[in-house]
């Protein structure tokens, strides 16, 4: 098992009476790729800034390697940051940007207790900068000015500039946010590769759930300053803890249900076999059914029967919206069902995921307003607005 490196204990952060983080308790392991995932305003960037040392928590403690570091300034922490939009130094070229941290004399404490400022030699700086530029595939760009680089190249400089200092933890604040779709996919792989090559902890902040699932060993889902769930990408996707997580990670149909017994859930007044247990008898629950876990069959064979209200071709599959007793579901299927047709569906027991009721029950997972939501999901510029709007309502 890898060992614990950073711990936040009872951390609360308040700005002008607005609580951004509430009683956060979390630890980060060494050599782990961890992602803080949540809508904007959920407190994920604040958490990153607390670890980086740019903000001191209002209450609570931050530990690094067992040592309390609340009052340690950023320049004394073994943590480096890749900033949102990179914050590269415009007056320095690529080489000097990467060499920046190495050119600053470091305080070193010897065994006899003496401290001294140590400067790296020119040769050492040179070899470390060149080595790092190679890691991020920017060999030959040494003399280029920052302004002449593309977004993806600037991103690589920012990563090299942080990693060249050999931090124990690399913090990444929405590192891929400014890149286009294609480049983002490439950089996801690239970041993962670099993390494995360097063998250090990466803490990544994003609002892109796909990115979080693709890159991370551990995902931390946050909302309204509270950690909603911590787990592997598989856990988070397959076993979401509440309606918020289920809705935020992937597509979900979330319906009200009642646990009639262990492994028996009732929705729409019909009982279904499921794999979940441990609830009280007749406990009201939220039931998640992922769109890809639904089989479309003929109306006669179906466990539930509904009417198709919209079909969108998505390449691999069709996004089919089906009206069941006034509640609209999203079903992803390779079968084409024309609008207006009556269909039946079947769901295997492992297609149901039962969750306890939470404050998010009833807020998510209904596709009645599907077309609007669809547009918002596919328009990155709308994303932030939508999320902030959703936050205001609550």
């Amino acid at each position: 098992m890898s060992k614990e490196l950073i711990r936040l204990k009872d951390v609360t952060m308040t700005f002008d009476d607005v609580t951004v983080l509430k009683d956060i308790n979390i630890y980060f392991n060494d050599k782990e790729f961890l992602t803080l995932l949540g809508p904007s305003g959920c407190g994920k960037t604040t958490m990153l800034r607390i670890i980086g040392g740019f903000q001191t928590p209002t209450t609570g403690d931050v530990f690094f390697d067992g040592e309390r570091i609340n009052d340690v300034p950023p320049y004394r922490r073994q943590v480096n940051t890749v900033f949102q939009k990179y914050a590269l130094f415009p007056h320095l070229n690529v080489y000097e940007n990467v060499a920046f941290g190495l050119r600053i004399p470091r305080e070193t404490t010897y065994e006899n207790g003496k401290t001294e400022k140590v400067k790296l030699s020119r040769d050492e700086i040179d070899s470390r900068v060149r080595e790092m530029l190679e890691v991020v595939s920017l060999k030959g760009f040494e003399r280029r000015s920052i302004a002449s680089l593309s977004g993806g190249q600037q991103q690589r400089v920012a990563i090299a500039r942080a990693l060249v200092n050999r931090p124990k933890v690399l913090l990444l604040d929405e590192p891929l946010g400014a890149l286009d779709m294609r480049l983002r996919k490439d950089m996801q792989q690239e970041l993962k590769r670099i993390q494995q090559q360097m063998g250090i902890t990466f803490i990544n902040v994003t609002h892109d759930q796909e990115e979080a699932l693709a890159m991370s060993d551990t995902v931390v889902v946050m909302n309204e300053g509270v950690i909603q769930q911590i787990g592997t990408p598989e856990d988070i996707y397959n076993e979401p803890k509440n309606a918020f997580v289920a809705d935020f990670i992937g597509e979900s149909n979330i319906v009200d249900g009642i646990m009639r017994a262990d492994r028996v859930v009732e929705i729409f007044n019909r009982r279904f076999a499921c794999l979940d247990g441990g609830f009280e008898k007749d406990e009201p629950v939220d039931v998640v059914i992922r769109p890809e876990d639904v089989d479309i069959v003929s109306e006669a064979e179906g466990q539930l029967r509904g009417t198709v209200t919209s079909v969108t071709f998505k390449g691999v599959h069709y996004d089919t919206i089906v009206d069941f007793y006034g509640f609209k579901w999203l079903i992803q299927t390779t079968d084409y069902c024309p609008v207006g047709s009556r269909i039946g569906i079947r769901i295997d027991p492992d297609g149901f995921h039962v969750m306890k009721k939470s404050k998010y029950s009833g807020l998510y997972g209904d596709y009645s307003s599907y077309s609007e939501e669809y547009d918002e999901i596919n328009d990155p510029t709308l994303l932030d607005v939508e999320e902030e709007g959703a936050g205001d309502e609550e």
Binding site: G52, G53, F54, Y75, V79, F83, L88, F89
Partner: protein
């Protein structure tokens, strides 16, 4: 024409041509000629004597550039910290500080300089204050001298003081503008990379505010070098500067516009060279003001 709206600049081009380019050409003609008597009256005749004869005034050149340099350096040393602190304060503080800096500029330049005369004179406000406080008798006792006032007016120090007082806002404003535009995340990034406050300033803030410094230095140095009112009023004729010298050739007793024009041309060339050198240090930062 590449830019279809280029003709928007025509009024300015005409203005420049009428009031800048043509006068400079006239000055050039004057500087390279001398007036001679002919049968039909006076005429211009080509001559370089204006330039060769200028060596007489080397000390005035030296004093002008030296005092302007001293004033510029003092403005920079005072102005940069003010601009730096202002840029880091809240918007309310910034507005008040800006108003205070601009306040003296709402008053007439000559009036402000006359006020300094009243303050610095031998029986002026400052000397009276020193007398009341016993500073002068203390000074006499300590040094064994016997003075009844400090000589402040009619010294080079008074001239430098006048320059600093009048031109300081021109140093603060461009530096302040550059510093407020400085991306806060850059200083955070530097801190993140191991730089303490001093290193952040030296390696990031200062290099990124060079363009503001160049603008400020230009805007203080150029008017300082050519001032004549300040040196006349506060230097009291003992601190003749290029401005006084030139004025004297056009309006004063030494009436010789040809020499005046030649001195102006030389001064202009030296100033331009100074600015080119300065801009070179700025590494072509686009925000630097050239003249």
């Amino acid at each position: 024409m590449r830019n279809k709206r280029a003709w928007f600049a025509f009024p300015y081009v005409i203005w420049m041509a009428l009031f800048v380019v043509i006068p400079i050409l006239i000055m050039l003609v004057y500087s390279l000629t001398a007036e001679v008597e002919t049968a039909s009256g006076t005429a211009f005749e080509g001559s370089v004597e204006n330039f060769t004869g200028m060596t007489l005034y080397m000390n005035v050149f030296g004093r002008s550039f030296w005092l302007a340099l001293v004033a510029t350096v003092i403005c920079l040393l005072i102005g940069y910290p003010v601009a730096y602190l202002m840029s880091r304060e809240g918007p309310g503080f910034q507005r008040v500080a800006m108003a205070l800096i601009m306040l003296p500029m709402w008053m007439n330049f000559l009036l402000r300089t006359y006020s300094w005369m009243a303050i610095l004179e031998n029986n002026g406000l400052l000397n009276q204050l020193f007398q009341k406080l016993g500073v002068i008798s203390l000074y006499n006792r300590l040094t064994g001298s016997d003075i009844d006032h400090f000589q402040m007016i009619r010294t080079s120090g008074a001239v430098v003081l006048g320059m600093v007082y009048n031109y300081l806002p021109f140093m603060i404003l461009p530096i302040y503008t550059v510093l407020t535009k400085l991306d806060h995340r850059l200083t955070e990034a530097a801190e993140d990379l191991g730089a303490n406050a001093a290193a952040v300033f030296r390696r990031v803030t200062l290099p990124l505010s060079v363009s503001g410094i160049i603008s400020g230095v230009t805007m203080v140095f150029v008017p300082s070098v050519s001032t004549f009112a300040i040196s006349r009023l506060l230097g009291g004729g003992t601190q003749m500067m290029l401005g006084d010298l030139i004025e004297n050739q056009f309006l004063g007793g030494a009436y010789n516009p040809h020499l005046g024009a030649a001195i102006s041309m030389v001064m202009m060339v030296i100033v331009v060279i100074c600015m080119l050198v300065m801009n070179h240090f700025g590494d072509g930062e686009e925000e630097a003001v050239m003249l």
